[in-house]
Amino acid sequence: MTAAMNVQAVKSIYRFEMSRWFRTVGQSVLSPVISTSLYFIVFGAAIGSLMQDIGGVAYGSFLVPGLVMLMLLTQSVSNASFGIYFPKFTGTIYEILSAPVSFVEIVLGYVGAAATKSVLLGFIIMATATLFVPVEIQHPLWMLTFLVLTALTFSLLGFIIGIWADGFEKLSLVPTLIITPLTFLGGSFYSIEMLPEPWQTLTLFNPVVYLISGFRWSFYGISDVGVGVSLGMTLFFLGLCLAVVARIFATGYRLKS
């Protein structure tokens, strides 16, 4: 038990979290699939037919990466925040805290499981999208990279929210107050070039812009900002979230009295 890494513990947490998800997989998958379908029907089919192509891509197809990102962000945050908040709420966190596990292992287990669920969900939504509009993926490897990095980053953010929250209201506060507006204003449904100044410049302070832009580029080769910038910013946010999580465990913030 003096191994550098308690791999068994990571596996246990991961499996436990995944089995919690699979137990309710119907609900977990159904609601995002239904809401994306609604978006496609309303924005893709009904309104989209009135829209011009953007960068040579039909509006319905243009929507796909943005919608996948929208679901990816909200689901990552809600899955991960709930995953760690729940043991705090029921008190079963005592076992995690008294086990011979490091914070890295706890994060790997919980955030890894949350990110896995989001990535799976991302694929399901992309598959759903193909039922409504033509979808092309020019750079599948980059698509996967952005998908996984974003799922990880926002699962970490969710994890932080779950630790910070001391009530169920706070769990949904950050997603509705911050994540959803940033995603809607981050170019899920439009290219930021369509915005007038000063909004176009202001939008560049929205981190989600970079995620969506990079992700959309991997589909259609069109982007609002350079792909390198997108990747750099994504990695930067990942690092930021990691640093906050490390700080939480170093100080025991809200986990230990």
């Binding site: 191994a3 068994q8 246990s12 079963t92 805290l97 008294s98 011979p100 490091s102 230990k256």
Partner: protein, 315 residues
């Protein structure tokens, strides 16, 4: 016997949570050594600091100052080694309502980094009479079963030291006996056990040593037998042949009282004392013309010792 757990100058002040909660000093410079293989009972009233002490040793609460060493490993800097030796059965029943009993117990083993071992899990479950519930969801268990589930979770990772924080709270008499047997069996297999309890009877029955904690201070640690001998007072009851209205003046030098409506004359004496004064008393009783049918002696229980100790004003 070698020390397996050492607690040195441990203090804990819970941080204030303004505006409602002031800072609270829950442990005051506690020192305690636990011997390998013993059963140690921590006794104390509500809010004494028992759970706080256990939580610090197990890594759930951070100490304000002091040091905890588990089998030679510091529980902060070498927490992996320290924690891997410890099993904890907390006072509160925290469980995953929707998981199956089997999965919940197996999860604990994995968390401690041990490879799966279905045979061991099965044995633990059988020992705790949980086997027929293995596929049940935890929420379908009764309170006593949940308590046993918590014990099973702690035993799933084969600890050397087991903390039982009020293991028999809310457990019926039958089950309590089973649990005591289980604890004895664990000790026989080499596990060191530290339990807290409100039931003095439990400590008296189970423990090798007893520690008494009150208001965050460990005021006494003693072998149970020695404690009872050292602090115990005995009573000698004389069942009188005829009822007595008052204690005769000739016997006023003795610590006497009348009981059972005047048919019992009770003499309290200290077993610590060189002389108990029994011989002299009996002579003086006979001289006073009091006749008795029978005599009886009674030893004070740990409970009486305990209450006496807590009542005593501390410097």
């Amino acid at each position: 016997m070698p020390t397996i757990l050492s607690v040195a100058n441990l203090s804990k002040t819970y941080a204030p949570r303004p505006p409602r909660q002031a800072a609270f000093e829950a442990l005051k410079n506690v020192n305690l050594d636990i011997q390998r293989g013993e059963i140690f009972a921590l006794l104390g009233p509500n809010g004494a600091g028992k759970t706080t002490l256990i939580s610090i040793v197990c890594g759930i609460v951070t100490a304000s100052s002091g040091k905890v060493t588990v089998d030679g490993f510091d529980n902060v800097t070498q927490y992996r080694e320290a924690r891997s030796r410890i099993g904890l059965v907390p006072q509160e029943l925290h469980t995953d309502a929707f998981e199956s009993v089997w999965k919940t117990i197996s999860f604990s083993r994995g968390l401690w980094g041990l490879p799966p071992n279905p045979a061991h899990i099965e044995k633990v479950m059988r020992d705790l009479s949980l086997w027929d519930k293995k596929d049940n969801r935890v929420m379908t268990l009764s309170g006593g079963m949940k308590r046993r589930l918590m014990i099973a979770k702690a035993l799933a990772h084969e600890p050397n030291i087991l903390f039982l924080d009020e293991p028999t709270a809310g457990v019926d008499v039958e089950l309590r006996k089973d649990m005591w047997n289980l604890v004895r069996g664990l000790r026989a297999s080499g596990v060191t056990i530290i339990l807290t309890t409100h039931y003095i009877q439990e400590a008296e029955e189970m423990a090798d040593r007893v520690g008494i904690i009150t208001k965050g201070e460990l005021i006494l640690v003693e072998q149970k037998a020695a404690l009872m001998e050292k602090l115990g007072s005995k009573q000698l009851a004389l069942h009188l042949a005829s009822k007595l209205d008052a204690i005769p003046a000739s016997l006023s030098a003795y610590k006497l009282s009348l009981a059972a409506g005047g048919t019992d004359l009770v003499y309290e004496y200290d077993t610590k004392g060189e002389r108990t004064g029994i011989t002299a008393l009996l002579q003086d009783v006979a001289a006073a013309g009091i006749r008795f049918k029978d005599v009886e002696t009674k030893e004070s229980s740990l409970e009486e010792i305990f209450v006496g100790l807590l009542r005593e004003p501390r410097p």
